[in-house]
Assembly symmetry: C2
Homo-oligomer: 306 residues x 2
């Protein structure tokens, strides 16, 4: 793909720039056959996110957490590139590519309660661009600074268009106290072209604390004034779905309560990655699917056991 085709240039200029979104948010408007109500889908389109309370049962969440507990004790996993620790200390921050290296979480990624909505909103087959388990441990969980995921996926991974969404499946209660995700509703309709070149192999650092590819203070101040802030605090088992370009971030967590979640990025098959728009080398496979792109197969949603 030539440079001319870059609709969302970033990290290329000396001054930040705000660019209008060139893509739909809601790709399918056939509301009569949708996995969410028309009101919910229009809310998603307007705000760039929707919170679905307690989609997964307490028993399911318990099972997911038990699996997480196993992963924390797996020395091979801990030594792998896919395991990221907190900026200071050795507390586990994230494990990537869980749709690939873990059977249970692979099934969750394909669960029709989430995947059907992704297929509807993006109007077609989807695959997992990135997945991770976020631990956000108690006492020492650090903040994630404001960012649009798409800015990174476009610049560092080569995702061409805004035709992807994230599902965050809460494994613990997210409260105002333990660093629940903050979002700027409606911010997904504008794109902040960031300042600063991407260093080589920047992902090693940015997964712990990102500085390049984050918006400047002036743009963020303007965004906060225009869009405001919303909390996404919710009970364990709830699902937060949000557009790839929604501005979001979270504060630290000094409470004793971990803020853990499963995170899956659904990308339209038609929107699979090309060469990174930064011109740099692509990030490793565990951060961005490139070699292993297969449409998600979910069981037919209507089929019942028995």
């Amino acid at each position: 793909m030539s440079k001319a085709a870059d609709l969302y240039p970033s990290r290329q200029q000396e001054e930040p720039q705000i660019i209008k979104r060139q893509d739909p948010t809601l790709y399918n408007r056939n509301f009569s056959n949708a996995p969410l109500s028309e009101a919910q889908l229009k809310q998603y389109e307007r705000d760039g996110y929707i919170l679905l309370p307690e989609v997964f049962s307490k028993a399911e969440v318990k099972r997911f957490l038990a699996e997480m507990g196993q992963m924390e004790k797996d020395p091979e996993l801990l030594a792998s590139d896919a395991a990221i620790t907190e900026p200071s200390g050795n507390a586990l921050r994230s494990v990537f590519q869980i749709h690939h290296n873990n059977d249970l979480y692979a099934r969750v990624a394909a669960d029709p309660r989430v995947a059907d909505i992704a297929r509807f909103i993006l109007d077609g087959q989807v695959y997992i661009h990135q997945s991770r388990l976020n631990f956000k441990p108690g006492f020492s969980g650090k903040e994630f600074y404001w960012h649009s995921d798409f800015e990174t996926w476009h610049t560092e991974d080569g995702m061409p268009r805004m035709r992807a969404l994230s599902a965050s499946i809460l494994l613990t209660d997210n409260t105002e106290f333990n660093g629940s995700l903050m979002v700027m509703p409606g911010s997904h309709r504008e794109y902040i072209a960031c300042v600063g070149e991407t260093p080589e192999d920047y992902y090693r650092e940015s997964l712990k604390a990102q500085t390049v590819g984050t918006p400047d203070a002036g743009s963020l101040q303007q965004f906060q004034q225009r869009f405001g802030l919303s909390s996404t605090a919710a009970k364990a088992g709830s699902v937060l779905l949000f557009d790839c370009n929604l501005m979001h971030g979270s504060n630290s967590n000094i409470t004793a309560s971990p803020r853990s979640n499963l995170f899956f990025v659904y990308n339209a098959i038609s929107n699979q990655v090309v060469e990174p728009f930064s011109g740099g080398k692509p990030r490793p496979e565990f951060l961005a699917s490139r070699e292993t792109i297969t449409p998600l197969q979910s069981p037919a949603p209507q089929r019942k056991a028995g």
Copy 2:
């Protein structure tokens, strides 16, 4: 004062210990002549804090903020020991001893709307043990980890008993988003003896990020389970009064909205500092009044102008 008289030993043992409070919280129970209602005072006694909404007017807050703006531009002040920057970068985090080096803030410290309550609760004359202006700037404000102020004042400053309280005067709206103070209601009735010796001149580091004199994770987990967490989010101009031994902390602030406040520690004259119970040398005067202890003089609360 001999070591035997240390009712609240800390940083002396290898294992943390929880000690019952040996002192009253509310020293005066003559409710008929009190600056707060009996219900409010009993709430303070039970919870260890009380939030008084919008005590200072918008105009007063504006004046306080303008003064703060001046201080941020004062090169002499910025170069002084009393000015503390954020752990990374040069953003101003706190300025100490403002009751001493700033006329306006000195008047605020003595304002009867706050000082009368301090005198009532502590039952007698009071002086300012410590004062500061906290900036908690937008985007980059870091967390304050859980701690009891008294633990530090006792160990590092030699404050003998729990007969002090803090007043935090909010200069900006404190919300669930910008790192408002979290407290554990009722935790002031117990004292966590912390682990770890105090390094010499430790204050230089601890004012940016404290690690010694903070409770261990086990004790905090137990405290959170027993006492729970409360938010103290409130509008600018509100005053949070809290006991010297209340467990409190705050998360980071990545929003564009600063979380600034004036902070005054009222200590009973009868409770003035002795030698530090750590056995180390005392912290400098700008952190703990030792040489300059004078009872606060407030104008008589009933006297009206004209």
